[in-house]
Symmetry: C2
Subunit: 116 residues, 2 copies
DNA sequence: ATATAATATCATCACATACTGATACGATGA
DNA sequence: TCATCGTATCAGTATGTGATGATATTATAT
């Protein structure tokens, strides 16, 4: 039985997707596909500010998309489940075909520059 | 090569996920997993207002997640690609395991009532 | 031509949420 | 102890975005 059968689960699922729906969080998740990273490594990899990364990591951690392990001053993060990466890859493949549509989607005024 | 290698593609991908990150759109996509539906059938299936459904359909259509075909006064909608459904299912399965975390995710103050 | 049905569009409002900068906290080393 | 590093938290701000209600548009029927 699919969770989606339950209306409340739709909100939960929307919440899950919201974890993926922000460029900053996506950058973080993408970086973590390569393996375990500390916060400062993620900051370096993504170019985001430290507080911003920390906030998003908190969000991703609370939602169960990443797990953290503290060691001394460092906190190591990794994807919580291989399906997180799978979801990213499936979306990637889907994008290969519908990307043009997504490019041109201007509803809700999301600005995505394509040519520079 | 993964699109994610490109920073701009991360924004595109975030945009794709944003299509899935709203309960109303998710309801619509879920309804469409059963097959082709007209707008008014979607309105009935989801319980959303007509203008709201139409707005979201515009968003989903522009993003390439659904396709529309007009016949007379009616417009028939369906999922554009079977991977749209696959993505929903994979997320569903992932939720089965990390749902508890998502439940408890209170960052950015999303209210999800679990017990009623 | 007129009425009505199905759908789309638009302005507006209320709220959600991402970013920054400052600061707090915990751990390590001198 | 003091300084510093790595990380987390918080207030404030600006912007994004979902819902509604009114209206426009197109098609069909009488």
């Amino acid at each position: 039985m699919l969770l989606l059968a339950n209306p409340k689960s739709i909100e939960i699922q929307a919440k899950l997707f919201r974890g993926f729906s922000d460029p900053s969080r996506l950058s973080i998740l993408d970086a973590l596909r390569g393996g375990v990273l500390t916060v400062s490594e993620i900051v370096e990899a993504t170019g985001l500010s430290q507080s911003n990364v920390s906030n998003h990591l908190g969000c991703l951690r609370d939602c169960g998309l990443v797990v953290a392990e503290k060691q001394g001053r460092f906190v190591y993060y990794e994807l919580s489940d291989k399906r997180v990466g799978q979801l990213l890859m499936l979306a990637d493949q889907l994008l290969a075909d519908v990307a043009k549509g997504v490019y041109e989607c201007t509803r809700y005024n999301v600005k995505v520059s394509i040519n520079g």
